[in-house]
Symmetry: C2
Subunit: 327 residues, 2 copies
C-alpha cells in the first residue's frame, strides 16, 4: 500500500484514504479536527460517497463500561468481517494529550487489523463545535468504507449530548447499580436513547435493573413538554462487555434499526441533524474568522479588557465589532 | 418591597432587581437565559455596576458532593451576613424540566432568606453558548449586590469546562475514593483548579487522598504542552460538606485569592475570558440570526435534506447560505 511521504492537497489525501491508506486517513481526520483548508477540499471530494454508513452513538455516565462494550461490539463486527470504526470523544486533558477512552478500546482490539480504525478526539477546543467536527469525521470514515461507525461519548455534557444527536442510533449504557446524581443525567439521556444497555451483566442485579428500567420507561410517556414530539420508547437489553454475553443480540438490534430506516422514504432526522451541525460549524468558522480578524486589526484585546474592567458593556463591545464589519 | 405585577422593559426590570425585588431578578435571569431583547437593555444598564464580585466555580465529577459543599459554603457566608448567590448548571433533562443540583442546595438553605439566591440553569439549549449566558447571569447578580457568586457545574463536558474558565476562582471537588474514568477527567480538571477540595472528610481516606493529590500535583509540573503557560499549582484542602468541617478554612482561602487579585494592576484573565464569552455569545446570536433568517426565506430545510441525502456537500450548502447574505 503506497503511503505518501509528505503532505499534499486535501483531494490527494482523500484519494489515498479511499485507496486504503490508514496513514492518509489519520492525517485527514487531523485536518478535519483542526479545520484546515485541506479538510474542506477533501470533504467536498468525499462527501458524495459518504452515505449509507450506520453511525451509532454509545453514551452514558462514567463507570458504565462503555469502552469495554464498544470493544466487544468491534470484535463481534470483525468476526463477521465488517470494517468498523470508533470515534472516542475524550474528556481528558488537552495539556497531557490524554486519550483514555480510545486507548482502552485499542488495547482490546487487534492493532494489526486494518479494518478496525480507532480515533480519539479531545472534547475541547473544536472551533466549529464538537458536533460539526464529529459529523465531518464520520463522513470521512464512511467514504473510506467503514459501514459501521461507533461514536463513544461520556454523556454528561451539553456538547456530548449534541454529538449523540448526530448519531443515527443512540445506545445509552449503564451499570446495574448507579448513584444519585447519575440518575439525573440518565433522565436526560434516556430521552435520546434508541437502545438502553444494562451492562456488566456479569454482576448481580442486571436483570432486575433492566426490569425496573422497562417499567420506568413504560410509565414515563405521560409527562414532559407537550410541544416536543413524544420521545420514542427505547429497547432495554442486558449485556456484558467483559464476557460478550448479549453483545451479538445488541449488534443484531442495531442492524435491525438501521435496516428499518433504510426502507423508509423519509430523510432520517439524525442525518438532517448531522448535515445541520456540519453547515453550522462551517458558517460559525467563517463568521468568527471575519469578526475576530476585523477586531484584531483594531485592538480586540484592548476592547475585551475594557469590558472586563466594566468601562464598556459587552453589547457595546459587540456593536463596535459588528459595525467594523460594515453592517 | 414592591413587586411589579406584569412584564416591563429590561431597564425597568433592572431597576426593580437592583432595588431588591427577587421576583424581578428571577425574571431578568429568565430573560438572559432566553436571550430576549429585555435582557440586552437590562444588561446595558446594569453592567457598569457589575464589577467587584467574586465568581467562584465549583466543579468536579459526579458523586463528589458538590451540592452539599456549596450549601455549607452558603451557610458559612450567611453566618457572616454576606449576600450569596448560586448558579447551578444542571445537566438534567430539558423535557422533565429537572433542576437537581439547584434543588439540592435549596433544600439545605433557608428559603426565607432574601440574601441567598439560588438559580438552576439547564446546561442545554443556550443559543449564544452556556458560557456567555452564565457570564451574563453572574453580571446581573453582581449588579444586584451579590458579592459572592458560586457557579456549580458537573465538570465532565466541554461546555462545563468553558463555564469554569469564566470563574475568577475554580474549586475542583472530589470524594476520597473515585473510579478510573473519573481519574481521566480529573487530569483535565486539575489544570483549571485554584483549589482542590477532597470532600467527604467524614469518610475514611480523605487525608491520605489529599496527600496523594499534593504529591501528584508537585510532580505534574514538568510535562505538558510547552506553548501553554505553566498551570498554577492548586491548594489542596480537606472538607466535609456534611459536617461543615474545613468549610470556614475553604471560604477563607477563597477570600484570600480574591483579595490578592484585587491588589493587582493587571486585568485578571478570568474577567477577560468572561468578557469575551459574553461578546462572542452576542455576536454568535446575531450572525446565526442573520444566516438562518436569510436561509429560512429560501428553504434551508430543503437544503439540509439535500445534504443529508448526500446530493450536496456541507461546504456547498454553506456557500449557498453565505452568498445569500451578500458576501
Amino acid at each position: 500500500m503506497a503511503e505518501p511521504a509528505t503532505g499534499g492537497s486535501g483531494a490527494r489525501l482523500a484519494q489515498d484514504a479511499r485507496g486504503g491508506s490508514r496513514r492518509a486517513l489519520s492525517r485527514l481526520l487531523t485536518a478535519v479536527e483542526s479545520r484546515s483548508p485541506a479538510a474542506e477540499d477533501a470533504l467536498r471530494a468525499l462527501y458524495p460517497a459518504a452515505g449509507g454508513a450506520h453511525v451509532v452513538g454509545i453514551t452514558g455516565p462514567p463507570g458504565g463500561g462503555k469502552s469495554t462494550l464498544v470493544a466487544a461490539l468491534v470484535a463481534r463486527a470483525r468476526a463477521a468481517s465488517r470494517p468498523v470504526a470508533v470515534l472516542a470523544i475524550d474528556p481528558s486533558s488537552p495539556i497531557t494529550g490524554g486519550a483514555i477512552l480510545g486507548d482502552r478500546i485499542r488495547m482490546q482490539a487487534h492493532p494489526a487489523d486494518p479494518d478496525v480504525f480507532i480515533r480519539s478526539m479531545a472534547s475541547r477546543g473544536h472551533l466549529g463545535g464538537l458536533a460539526g467536527t464529529t459529523a465531518e469525521s464520520a463522513a470521512v470514515l464512511a467514504a473510506c468504507g467503514f459501514g459501521l461507525i461507533f461514536i463513544e461519548t461520556v454523556g454528561t455534557g451539553q456538547s456530548e449530548v449534541e454529538v449523540a444527536a448526530i448519531a443515527d442510533t443512540t445506545v445509552v449504557v449503564q451499570a446495574p447499580e448507579m448513584g444519585d446524581e447519575i440518575q439525573a443525567m440518565k433522565a436526560g439521556l434516556l430521552e435520546v436513547a434508541d437502545v438502553v444497555v444494562v451492562n456488566k451483566a456479569d454482576r448481580p442485579g442486571a436483570d432486575r435493573a433492566a426490569m425496573q428500567l422497562r417499567s420506568t420507561l413504560a410509565l414515563g410517556g405521560e409527562g414532559g413538554d407537550p410541544s416536543r414530539p413524544r420521545p420514542k420508547r427505547p429497547e432495554v437489553l442486558v449485556a456484558s462487555g467483559l464476557t460478550a454475553a448479549g453483545v451479538p443480540e445488541l449488534l443484531a438490534a442495531l442492524d435491525r434499526l438501521h435496516e428499518a430506516r433504510a426502507g423508509s422514504e423519509q430523510p432520517h432526522a439524525a442525518r438532517v441533524a448531522r448535515a445541520r451541525a456540519q453547515v453550522e460549524g462551517i458558517l460559525a468558522d467563517r463568521t468568527r474568522g471575519l469578526l475576530w480578524a476585523a477586531g484584531a486589526q483594531a485592538g480586540t484585546d484592548e476592547l475585551m479588557e475594557r469590558v472586563a474592567a466594566h468601562e464598556l458593556d459587552p453589547y457595546a463591545a459587540a456593536d463596535i465589532l459588528w459595525n467594523r464589519l460594515g453592517r
